[in-house]
């Protein structure tokens, strides 16, 4: 039971990383300035690196002989367990950076907690990824502050992005029987603990940015159970095209 729970848990982490990396990769060559183009794709590459390590671990836990490429490229949409937040379209620069900020503010405390996990491989991946994630959060926070407290237009766009994305943030803290089994065994942290830290970061950065947390608390989820938004299929057709068209091809 715990092996399969851990597989599910690690798969969720990997899918979050991979799908967000794919979205960020779409900015390649389209960034608002050259420097930011490189920054966004750097973050994308960090996330792909994390996804590879996590998929390797998931594949080992599963023990069915699949490798990281098969997990990344050869599953159907309902087998991906990423949160809806990371598959949302890039929109404008504010939308991309706010999506990134909400995600980074969640990932950092999660990795910090997972560094203490008795599952050694998971703790090691968390320890390596935490430095990258700390930088991602710094980068996205700096931008949120500058857009919110910048011009009238940047403020309005940043607030519009928050108002749109807020409904997807609650799913970051999704828990089910898999999580509860692992939490009971002391292998992973309780999501309530991560959510409290996330909320503290979000509150402090948004207030510095003179941006507001939406009053409307309507929540949206399904990604963790494989029920995705209409954007996911298009994203996967891009992501999987090469492996589907040329099975087993390698660079």
């Amino acid at each position: 039971m715990q092996e399969s729970a851990l597989f599910e848990y690690v798969l969720r982490l990997s899918d979050d990383s991979l799908i967000l990396a794919q979205r960020l990769g779409e900015w390649c060559g389209h960034g608002p300035i050259l420097e930011e183009d490189i920054a966004l794709t750097n973050i994308s590459l960090d996330l792909i690196g994390q996804a590879i390590s996590l998929y390797d671990l998931a594949a080992a836990l599963e023990g069915k002989g699949r490798d990281h490429d098969q997990l990344a490229y050869l599953r159907y949409e309902n087998e991906y367990k990423n949160v809806l937040l990371v598959e949302q379209p890039n929109g404008d620069f504010a939308m991309t950076l706010l999506r990134q900020f909400f995600f980074d503010a969640f990932r950092l405390p999660l990795y910090e907690a997972l560094m203490q996990s008795p599952v050694e491989q998971l703790a090691a991946i968390a320890a390596k990824s935490v430095k990258e994630t700390r930088y991602h959060l710094k980068h996205s926070s700096e931008w949120v502050i500058r857009m919110g407290d910048g011009t009238e237009e940047s403020h309005q766009r940043a607030q519009a992005a928050i108002d749109h994305l807020w409904r997807y943030t609650n799913e970051l803290f999704y828990e089910d029987a898999h999580d509860h089994a692992l939490q009971a065994a002391g292998k992973v942290p309780a999501m309530a603990e991560i959510q409290a830290k996330w909320m503290a970061t979000v509150t402090s950065i948004l207030s510095e940015a003179t941006l507001e947390i939406p009053k409307n608390n309507w929540k949206f989820d399904g990604g963790r159970e494989g029920r995705h938004s209409e954007h996911m299929g298009y994203l996967l057709s891009d992501l999987q095209y090469m492996q589907r068209a040329y099975p087993n091809m390698e660079w």
Binding site: I33, L34, E35, E36, I38, A39, N42, Y135, K138, H139, E142, R146
Partner: protein, 95 residues
């Protein structure tokens, strides 16, 4: 349009402990914090550095190319300023 452009920054990177910061290029950024982050992303992706300085290009004062003759040529004829007139004793190595 050019009035809306972010200021230009010059980037200096120390590649390892004990070496000087060296000029590596320039970039655009709205302020010093983001200039440092951009420099990190643009110029240290392949482990090129352990420390970064950024200076707004407008803050750098440079010699005028038209004055190069009066600035630099006079020293060309003063070979006695180079320590090349010494006999190096046989026992001294690595000179």
């Amino acid at each position: 349009m050019s009035t809306n452009e972010w200021p230009l920054w010059e980037v200096f990177i120390r590649s390892k402990q004990g070496l000087n910061h060296k000029h590596v290029g320039s970039l655009r950024a709205p302020d010093a914090t983001l200039a440092l982050e951009n420099a990190r992303d643009v110029y240290t992706r392949r482990s090129e550095g352990i420390s970064i300085w950024v200076v707004e290009s407008a803050q750098i004062h440079a010699t005028d190319i038209d004055e190069a003759a009066s600035f630099f040529e006079p020293s060309d004829t003063k070979i006695y300023r180079h320590p090349t007139f010494y006999e190096v004793p046989d026992g001294v190595k690595h000179m």
